[in-house]
């Protein structure tokens, strides 16, 4: 009986230490950054907008998990891109700059505001794609050069 109790404690501790990536159906929660948000050549003083429906330049994440799993999407969005010698360029996201697609096609999206958490559910395949566009706002005197920023998507499986 003591052995059983010890085993029970050990297994319980092991279970508590397992990384929380397995769902009810045993499928891991996968989030993958597929494509960056690309503004390309930007001219000083001329804003550049990339639509979330732009197949070449919109950012894309893929999500995989258990079918029908309820999830919450939360973006961590930069307010600027950083360029040469620490120069910054505003990066603006609007209320419909993100899109959710269960069939994982850029032409079939449900728009949402990337600035606030978005709740939805995976489909029967347990997969989805998330797209994001935005607006680069260079100043008329914007320093020439390459600018970058990091966009992070956090996916939480809801109970």
């Amino acid at each position: 009986m003591k052995l059983t109790a010890c085993l029970a404690i050990a297994v319980a501790l092991l279970g508590a230490a397992l990384p929380p990536v397995l769902g009810a159906q045993g499928k891991p929660l996968n989030v993958t950054g597929v494509r960056g948000l690309t503004f390309g050549a930007v001219f000083p003083g001329v804003p550049r907008v990339i639509s979330r429906s732009d197949p070449a330049n919109a950012g894309q994440f893929d999500i995989g998990h258990a079918k029908f799993a309820p999830i919450q999407l939360t973006f961590t969005l930069p307010s600027v891109m950083v360029g040469p010698a620490g120069a910054t360029m505003p990066l603006i996201f609007g209320a419909s700059d993100a899109g959710y697609s269960s069939p994982e096609t850029i032409t079939s999206q449900v728009g949402f505001d990337p600035r606030v958490p978005f709740t939805t559910a995976l489909d029967k395949n347990g997969r989805a794609a998330v797209f994001i566009g935005g607006r680069a706002q260079p100043a008329p005197s914007q320093r020439a050069g390459a600018y970058t920023a990091t966009i992070t998507l956090t996916v939480t499986v809801l109970p």
Binding site: M1, L29, R35, L37, T38, G40, P44, G83, A149, T152
Partner: protein
């Protein structure tokens, strides 16, 4: 033995319960990128000079006149399309006296000698153009003044402004 099996079953359920109760979270990142091109720089390089004008005698300065046409020098991103916008005065002024300007002409080129990439145009609110492969452009403005027969003697001036945007 029966008790042991029962305990193990309880343990397995407990493990499943722990896994299911934990919030499952994962994340990934992508990069946003942009390449800012060279800012535009415009210089008023040479004034539009009509020189001596006589009352009642119109005088023109052609945009091809390298000595007297007004000239702007533009520098920016190589081969970039730009829009030229002109603010053109309708008169020259000398105190309270004015002298009409009734027409303007424009010329642009890739070099200051007007020998490469030369294009004639009518300066206005919106003129499309393209910077050279070296990122430069030279723009000349000509015009015609029409002094009255009783035009007051004096030095008449006005400002001609060109704005360039990508």
């Amino acid at each position: 033995m029966r008790n042991s099996k029962l305990s193990l079953a309880v343990v397995v359920l407990a493990v499943i319960g722990v896994s299911a109760a934990q919030a499952q979270t994962n994340n990934a990142s992508i990069t946003a990128t942009a390449t800012v091109q060279t800012p535009i720089n415009v210089i008023g390089a040479q004034a539009l000079a009509f020189g001596n004008v006589f009352p009642g005698v119109n005088k023109s300065v052609a945009a091809t006149d390298l000595t007297n046409a007004g000239r702007f020098d533009v520098a920016g991103q190589a081969s970039a399309p730009v829009t030229l916008s002109f603010t053109l005065p309708a008169t020259l002024s000398f105190g309270a006296n004015t002298m009409p300007i009734d027409s303007y002409s424009g010329m642009r080129a890739d070099n200051s000698a007007q020998t490469v990439g030369t294009v004639a145009f009518t300066p206005g609110a919106s003129n499309s153009a393209t910077l050279s492969a070296a990122g430069s452009m030279f723009v000349w403005v000509g015009a015609r003044v029409t002094p009255a027969t009783n035009q007051a003697q004096g030095v008449y001036t006005a400002n001609v402004t060109m704005t360039v945007v990508y």
